[in-house]
């Protein structure tokens, strides 16, 4: 795999990169609210907007890890609040199964996390990201990189 960016090996602080799949209606709007409310959160997260967290194919998560993401966050609407009725439940089921598989690939399952963030929870989005970044920092860089 071509490495376009030089690895920050000598950098004292490990800055993880996190791919975040955000559902358009709740979590993306929540992230937007965090921004418009000027709430600070680490810049390590790279959002990918999908219409619904139910659109997130486990393949995307694996692909993101393969491409070198240190962590993958999937955020959707709260249970019962899905804009498409049940997409968040489908996401939860898929991700729980995927985390079982990750262990077999000797990838720390903590690298993949799902969260429910509503459109009004800018503060929660910021705290989820902050917490996740801290956790990934503890775990260390993605071994697949």
């Amino acid at each position: 795999m071509s490495q376009l960016v030089t690895q920050p090996e000598k950098k004292p602080q490990f800055e993880p990169k996190i791919a975040a799949f955000l559902c358009n209606w709740c979590s993306y709007a929540g992230a937007d609210l965090a921004g418009t409310s000027r709430i600070k959160y680490p810049p390590n997260v790279l959002p990918i907007r999908v219409m619904c967290s139910g659109r997130v194919d486990p393949l995307f998560v694996m692909e993101a890890l393969r491409k070198g993401a240190d962590g993958v966050l999937i955020a959707g609407c709260h249970p019962g609040d899905c804009h498409y009725q049940s997409g968040n439940y489908k996401m939860r089921r898929r991700i729980l199964l995927l985390t079982k598989m990750l262990e077999q690939f000797s990838i720390d399952p903590r690298r993949v996390r799902y969260e429910f963030v509503s459109a009004s929870e800018g503060q929660k989005f910021a705290s989820v990201v902050t917490e996740f970044v801290e956790e990934i920092k503890e775990i260390g860089p993605n071994p697949l990189k």
Partner: protein, 606 residues
């Protein structure tokens, strides 16, 4: 069934009925033969006093107050009009000298039995009877006139007969069997409501207090009947029956209201029903709840001397329970204290400002000044927010009217302490103020059922619990769900002009959808590559809208089943694309290829 019965009865009546012509106080009246004379005379405008007559009950003729002089075939006789049935050619005088004289004697007799009852005194006073010549018994403490209304309504209408008469002669009285309260009496209170005097109330005949039904509109300041008009400007402005408390609906019988409805409009068989309506858009205008001041014990809310702003509104309203007279314990309060920001701007609770309280408190202070000019008025506020058109001017005017505004810090402790007949308001930095009435400006809070409503309509709540608009600046009336719009306090606290503005905006947004010949659908719908699809049907299982179906197609001479998307039903969530094993079903704009390319690009940054 009952309808048929009454119809038949009516038909029978019509067959038999013939009209008779009678003269009442010189006025010629036609009425159906056999009609009760009292009712005919009252319809004709005669003023006849009654005690034992009740429209819904059978005639009884106990009190004799309704007597009139009837001339039949040249013979003049006094008759109780409530039991007399009209005949052709009779001449009735309802207030002749003889009638009035006899009525006075009857009133004297009744007064001798119940000298202390207010209603009887008033009735006697109308006929110039102030004293009685007869012997006063029972130490003048009796209030029952033995009209039998209570006994009759219990037996005839409630079909119970829980109370009855005992003894004879002057010892006759209304009593429970063996003078013991029992569960047989259902404490419906009908005897209490028909009793013309205060007898039932004073005797506490049931041995237990009937539970009044608090009026929702008057916030429990008064009670209401089981059949009632919900509030003065209700649309439609017709009475409803509360079948949880109506005697007929709970245990059967009664139907007393039916006797009074001249339009025959009461139908007991009506059931509440759920009506399915197809709509193109929904405007959500479900309003708000008020903060429950009991959650803040420091204000010592009791709904009596310490009340909420809404309760004060009813108290000061001309059509309210007190007819617009501000009264506490029957007396005008001379010292009134208003406390703002109760349950709002609270860092532990509702952080938002309730927006309307500053101005309605100013208005209420102004109203007290108008009605009780010498009242001492104090308003404790935290910050004055007179933001609207003309608001600041009004605030200044109220201050000029002698309302004392005292500012306190949000976190400063405030306490309302009951102090005998008054209350003491303690606020940090000020001397304690004694008050006859304390009005709390309680916060506007989201309705309790907002979470259920949000889930039902698939719309969101914001952090404060109100319904969330799609964008705070650019789409303030829309929700995230197409075709659903917000108006009023369900979205956030707002005053009437703001509510009207938002409601107008919501209505116009609705028209925007309804006026178009074609509806725009979601652009990011799914589409199927039929060559790749193997017809497994996973997409059908995950689709929440039943937008995907299997259909048979001919591929190179083979009939195979492949998925097909109904684009009008598809809302574009992409759940099918995620489930598809062969990548045959793809969401437009969010195809596997596009998302993988995004991830790939991330790899560059990573």
């Amino acid at each position: 069934m009952a309808d048929n019965g009454t119809e038949k009865d009516n038909e029978k009546k019509k067959d038999k009925q013939k009209n008779v012509t009678i003269t009442i106080d010189g006025q010629v009246v036609t009425a159906p033969e056999g009609e009760i004379l009292l009712e005919v005379a009252q319809t004709a405008g005669a003023d006849i006093p009654t005690l034992c007559y009740h429209k819904a009950l059978a005639p009884y003729g106990a009190c004799r107050l309704c007597l009139v002089e009837v001339e039949d075939n040249g013979q003049k006789k006094l008759h109780a009009s409530c039991t007399y049935k009209v005949k052709d050619g009779i001449t009735v005088s309802t207030a002749s000298e003889r009638v009035v004289k006899t009525r006075k004697v009857i009133l004297e007799l009744i007064l001798a039995r119940c000298p202390g009852d207010e209603y009887i005194q008033q009735l006697a006073h109308q006929y110039g009877v102030e004293k009685t010549r007869f012997k006063i018994r029972f130490n003048g403490e009796e209030t029952c006139v033995l009209c039998g209304l209570c006994v009759r309504i219990c037996r005839e209408k409630m079909e119970k007969g829980a109370i009855g008469f005992v003894n004879r002669g002057w010892k006759r009285e209304v009593m429970l069997p063996f003078n013991q309260s029992s569960d047989y009496c259902m404490v419906c209170g009908s005897c209490l409501s028909v009793c013309p005097t205060s007898a039932i109330k004073n005797k506490n005949i049931f041995g237990k207090d009937p539970i009044l039904i608090p009026s929702e509109f008057e916030i429990g300041l008064t009670s209401r009947h089981p059949i009632y008009v919900p509030f003065p400007q209700a649309v439609p402005n017709t009475p409803v029956i509360d079948d949880t408390v109506c005697v007929h609906h709970t245990v059967g019988g009664c139907k007393t209201c039916e006797s009074f409805c001249e339009a025959d409009a009461i139908e007991f068989e009506q059931k509440e029903e759920v009506v399915d309506i197809d709509v193109g858009a929904i405007a959500v205008a479900t309003g708000f709840d008020l903060f429950d001041p009991q959650q803040k014990p420091e204000y010592d809310y009791d709904g009596h001397r310490v009340i909420t702003g809404l309760e004060f509104e009813r108290l000061v309203n001309a059509s309210g329970p007190t007819g617009g007279k501000i009264k506490v314990d029957g007396k005008e309060p001379k010292k009134v204290v208003f406390i703002q920001c109760v349950g709002s701007r609270d860092k532990q609770g509702n952080e938002y400002c309730s927006r309307i309280c500053c101005m309605y408190t100013a208005k209420q202070a102004h109203l007290v000044r108008e009605k009780i000019p010498d009242a001492a008025l104090t308003v404790y506020y935290t910050d004055m927010r007179a933001f609207g058109k003309g608001f600041e001017e009004f605030y200044n005017r109220v201050q000029r009217e002698g309302v004392t505004y005292k500012r306190r810090e949000l976190d400063d402790p405030i306490e309302v302490i009951p102090d005998g007949g008054t209350v003491l308001v303690k606020v940090k930095g000020y001397e304690d103020v004694e008050a006859d009435l304390v009005v709390l400006a309680t916060a506007v809070v989201p309705r309790k059922d907002t979470p259920a409503l949000a889930q039902l309509l698939n719309i969101n709540q914001s952090a404060d619990g109100f319904l969330l608009e799609a964008h705070p600046k650019l789409r303030p009336v829309d929700t995230f769900t197409d075709g659903i719009f917000l108006a009023g306090c369900c979205q956030s606290p707002k005053d009437i002009p703001d509510t009207v503005a938002q409601a107008s905006a919501a209505a116009s947004r609705v028209c925007n959808i309804l006026s178009k010949p074609k509806l725009e659908i979601e652009a990011t719908t799914a589409q199927v590559d039929q060559m790749l699809c193997r017809g497994c049907g996973f997409c059908i299982d995950v689709c929440p809208y039943e937008a995907v179906e299997l259909k048979e197609v001919n591929q190179f001479g083979h009939i195979v089943e492949v998925a097909e998307v109904n684009e009008a039903l598809c809302k574009g969530c992409g759940a099918c694309s995620a489930a598809c094993l062969s990548g045959a079903i793809q969401q437009k704009g969010f195809t596997d290829k596009q998302i993988l390319a995004t991830i790939d690009a991330l790899g560059g940054i990573l």
